[in-house]
């Protein structure tokens, strides 16, 4: 196959207030015609910067390309002037961005935005461009294209907007499509639709795709070849099977291991430490301080790319003929074989009971948003109950209502045999705490860590004097794996993972029995996620905590939870033991949700049949009557217009479906 794009020895740095940040440090890469190359890496690894440099969209103010070449159709893109570059940008190389909610101009009609580059590059008349736009919208699966062209972006859902962004990128039949985390902001079932669409488009148009992501499951679903980036360098590249099944770099091993699959038991593997600060000049292998197999030479010299096979390369000294052999396959097997040490201290003693809970929000427009509608739930002492569902399904509202941040519209919350009312709320919230999703916005930037953690202690008058307060804070910091002297610092001095640890310490301060964790890891990188999850599990065991774990990442929920509830549009559709739920999902929505999770094994992933749900989540303001899932359900019949009963089909396996 011939090569479409070649990047040679690319170096890019950014000028920032704190100094020079070496974002890309010598990237070599090539993309063949019609293939999909996935670039994998965590935030700050330089993957987006590399992609933006191809299309010439690095921020002009502070980004500098130090050296390197980018060859595309016999031209070095880095030597082209602005005018020449414009002829390539949008016409031959197009880009899709991460967040479809912000990637479209909110005040311009969708049609105009789709036609814009076709008019510019293909010299089409307005009418021809319009026909082209209709054709494109058909291609990306938007029905009624003629009318929808005249709508504004806010009239589309997130998944639909991403389809429009894709249509826009395809308008000039580009040879190369750069997709920068195009599914990260989307729900799993929508992600599955978009991945399918991209594959379909590739088959139709033969375009090559550079797919940037941090999700190895997505990589195994879509990629032909993979490049793994760490600290501005490509540390391993090869075909998708080679990299995901026979990785050679310890970082690739770590990434694969820290991602639980549906069978992972025991302690989750986590890469120690955090990625390097790219402001300091790096000596040796950037990954060495986090590498458990690091050799002495790793700290002194950068490893070259060692050839593993014709297509497979990795930059690690472990591949040097004189290096000791480390067997990755056996190493992972070891971890997987370690038996479940999460012996449950669960008794059947119910700690928290939710009976017919509803939470409605009354909108300004006199409409009612039924965020949570008549749900029943029991959480047993010492267990972890996972609550999963797509965004907008009401899972966060459930957590917030239980903890008293919202007042329930109707229904009861019974905690330890006491009904929650306005009067005893203060007393009971001492026993319940919450860990929030975004570690960046959930900590007051103007407060010292000590004061953040001790706020609960002060409110509930738990400590006697300043000395005890300080002691308690330092203890808590140690518990969550931070240095005691962090107490006098401010949140901005910490990384995302460390901040989430502070959030956990804050929640633990007043020794709660019950913790609601609302998507505690979704804002973190894969290698950091595993650290936080391990910490949560350790704390749970030590303090006999009961957890309500709210998330959309199903494999993580499966790993951490004893039982799982699946929510759809304000109702719980299925609730069962986590093993049971994954082995024997009864509700069609659960089945679709499970099927939408991409598997990190490319052979399994590419051969399996998937259920891909049609359409998007209906508005919770006008939920469908009867079974709420019937508008998207494959089994739906007239009987589904009646609300299905919430019943126990097998012991401890509850479901709300007429056909289960």
């Amino acid at each position: 196959m011939n090569t479409l794009l070649t990047i040679k020895n690319l170096h890019i740095h950014f000028e920032t207030h704190v100094g020079k940040v070496q974002a890309v440090r010598g990237v070599d890469l090539s993309v063949k015609k019609g293939e999909t190359l996935a670039i994998v890496g965590e935030s700050g690894s330089g993957k987006s910067v590399t992609a933006k440099s191809i299309i010439g969209l690095l921020p002009k103010r502070n980004a500098m390309i130090d050296k390197g070449e980018i060859w595309f159709e016999n031209k070095n893109l880095l030597t082209l002037n602005n005018k020449q570059m414009k002829k390539i940008r949008g016409a031959k190389i197009a880009m899709i961005f991460q967040d479809p909610m912000t990637a479209l101009n909110p005040t311009m009609k969708v049609g105009k935005q789709v036609m814009e580059s076709a008019i510019k590059h293909l010299n089409l008349s307005k009418k021809e461009a319009r026909n082209k736009a209709v054709e494109l919208l058909n291609l990306v699966g938007i029905s009624n294209p003629e009318t929808r062209l005249n709508q504004y972006p806010h009239e589309f859902s997130g998944g639909m907007r991403q389809r429009i962004v894709i249509a826009m990128a395809l308008s000039c039949n580009p040879k190369l499509l750069i997709a920068d985390e195009p599914t990260t902001a989307l729900d799993v079932t929508i992600q599955a639709q978009i991945l399918d669409l991209l594959k379909h488009i590739q088959k139709e148009t033969g375009t090559a795709i550079i797919f940037i992501t941090h999700d190895l499951g997505v990589v195994s679903n879509i990629a032909d070849s993979v490049a793994v980036m760490y600290a501005g360098k490509i540390i391993e590249k090869g075909t998708v099977e080679e990299v995901l099944l026979k990785p050679n770099h310890p970082y690739s091993w770590g990434l694969l291991k820290s991602m639980p699959n549906l069978d992972t038991k025991g302690k989750l593997y986590s890469i120690p430490g955090s990625p390097p600060d790219m402001i300091q000049p790096l000596k040796g292998d950037a990954f060495a301080p986090r590498n458990e197999f690091a050799l002495a030479i790793d700290y002194d010299m950068q490893p070259p790319m060692f050839k593993v096979s014709e297509t497979h390369y990795a930059a690690t000294w472990l591949l040097h003929p004189q290096a000791p052999k480390v067997d990755f396959i056996r190493e992972t097997q070891d971890v997987l074989m370690k038996q479940d040490d999460k012996i449950s201290s669960i008794d059947n003693n119910v700690l928290l009971e939710v009976k017919g809970l509803s939470k409605y929000f009354y909108l300004k427009s006199k409409q009612t948003l039924k965020a949570v509608d008549n749900i029943h739930l029991e959480i047993r002492r010492g267990e972890t109950l996972g609550l999963v569902g797509e965004s907008g399904c009401g899972k966060s509202t459930v957590g917030r209502t239980i903890i008293g941040l919202h007042e329930p519209t109707s229904g009861e919350i019974i905690y330890d045999n006491t009904k929650l009312t306005r009067h005893n709320q203060r007393q009971l919230t001492k026993k319940m705490q919450m860990i929030f999703q975004d570690p960046y916005s959930s900590l007051d930037p103007k407060m010292k860590v000590e004061d953040i953690i001790a706020e609960g202690l002060d409110i509930h008058h738990v400590v006697k004097d300043k000395k005890e307060r300080k002691q308690r804070v330092e203890e808590l910091l140690k518990t969550v794996g931070l240095q005691p002297h962090s107490a006098s610092r401010y949140p901005h001095e910490f990384s995302g993972g460390q901040r989430q640890r502070i959030g956990i310490a804050r929640a633990l301060a007043i020794e709660p029995e019950f913790i609601v964790a609302d998507e505690p890891i979704s804002a973190l990188d894969v290698s950091i996620q595993a650290q936080v999850i391990n910490l949560l599990l350790k704390l749970q065991k030590e303090n006999n905590l009961t957890l309500l774990f709210i998330a959309h990442d199903l494999s993580m929920v499966k790993y951490i939870s004893d039982r799982i509830g699946v929510m759809y549009l304000g109702t719980i559709v299925e609730l069962a033991n986590s093993d049971e739920l994954y082995k024997n999902p009864l509700h069609p929505y659960t089945q679709a949700l499970l099927s939408a999770i991409p598997n990190a094994n490319p052979i399994v992933e590419k051969s399996r049949e998937r259920i891909i749900l049609k359409g998007t989540l209906p508005s919770p303001v006008y939920p469908p009557s009867g079974c709420r899932f019937r508008t998207r359900c494959l089994l739906a019949t007239d009987a589904c217009e009646k609300t299905p009963e919430w019943r126990e089909v097998e012991t401890d396996h509850w479901v709300a479906c007429h056909y289960a």
Partner: protein, 310 residues
């Protein structure tokens, strides 16, 4: 939408009623009188009563209030105490012309120059252009317009003799007061536009537009400016207020027979009916401006337009 406008109009009427009431009683509480107390006391009782009766001042306060509100409903602002025999309505009608002309010119000047400066400053962020614009903005807000007016009068008017220094005798006479009023507007608008523009230029959709390979100019005009200018509409309300207060001083400095100078004169002369009338007039003008701004916002921003329809 119609319902929205109707509710807002009801709201406006209630607001104006409250303002009328408050100003009426404030006037009654003020010490002093529009008439020369000394000369009034020299009149015979009969003559004095007759004089007071002419202005309705012989009756108890609540009757005066009821009469005042009654005539307000008919649109009659009353008779001036100072300008003999003239109604306040007529006074406003006579004087509104110059004020409106100055106001409109200052808004046009302020908006056009302010927006252009703001866009350039944001586009050339952290360059000499940016610093220059910010300097203009800071000076424009911090130098009081009567100081600026005096400076303009001295240099442009007297020293260089480019434009007339004062009075209202032809179009040439509008130049200096317009500039004096407009500079504050330029400053407010430039600063605001720059901030909005900086915000918009960082949005993903600008990157998307750039990735299409269309010219920088098209990205700026089609994608950036419109989105940046929508919020600018919201500060038009405060801009009009600054123009109103500015006109009070500026019209006096340049001896322009507008309602600003009328207002100042009426306060000096304790001309209660005129003060009340103009207060109401200013309030009504300001409230209506805000209503128009809100409606405009809904028309220009498609996201709000839809909301209004639902």
């Amino acid at each position: 939408m119609k319902r929205f406008i109707f509710l807002r109009l009801v709201n406006i009427i209630i607001t104006l009623f409250i303002i009328a009431t408050v100003t009426f009683f404030l006037m009654k509480l003020l010490p002093g009188s529009p008439f020369d107390e000394e000369r009034l006391s020299k009149l015979s009782d009969e003559a004095r009563l007759e004089f007071l009766a002419k202005y309705g001042l012989d009756q108890p306060v609540y009757v005066q209030y009821a009469k005042y509100i009654g005539s307000l409903i008919k649109g009659d602002l009353g008779i001036s105490y100072y300008y003999k025999g003239q109604t306040v309505n007529a006074l406003i009608k006579d004087r509104i012309g110059p004020s409106m002309l100055l106001g409109i010119q200052a808004v046009i000047l302020g908006l056009s120059v302010g927006i252009i400066l703001g866009i350039i400053a944001a586009y050339r962020h952290n360059t000499i252009w940016d610093y220059f614009t910010m300097l203009v903005a800071v000076l424009g807000v911090s130098i009081p317009n009567f100081v600026l007016a005096a400076i303009l009068q001295f240099y442009v008017g007297l020293q260089w003799g480019l434009f007339p220094v004062a009075y209202w005798e032809g179009y040439q006479h509008t130049f200096l007061p317009t500039i004096s009023l407009g500079v504050t507007v330029i400053a407010i608008i430039a600063r605001f536009t720059r901030n909005e523009m900086l915000e918009v230029l960082q949005q993903d959709y600008i990157l998307t537009a750039q990735s299409k390979g269309i010219s920088e100019c098209a990205v700026l005009i089609k994608h950036a400016i419109r989105n940046a200018l929508i919020p600018v509409i919201t500060i038009l309300g405060p801009v009009f207020v600054s123009l109103l207060t500015g006109s009070l001083v500026i019209e006096n400095i340049f001896s322009i027979p507008g309602i600003g100078s009328l207002f100042v004169d009426s306060i000096k002369m304790n001309d209660y009916t005129t003060i009340m009338g103009l207060t109401l007039f200013y309030s009504a003008f300001f409230i209506l401006t805000i209503l128009i701004v809100d409606l405009l916002y809904g028309i220009i921003d498609p996201r709000i337009r839809i909301h209004g329809r639902e």
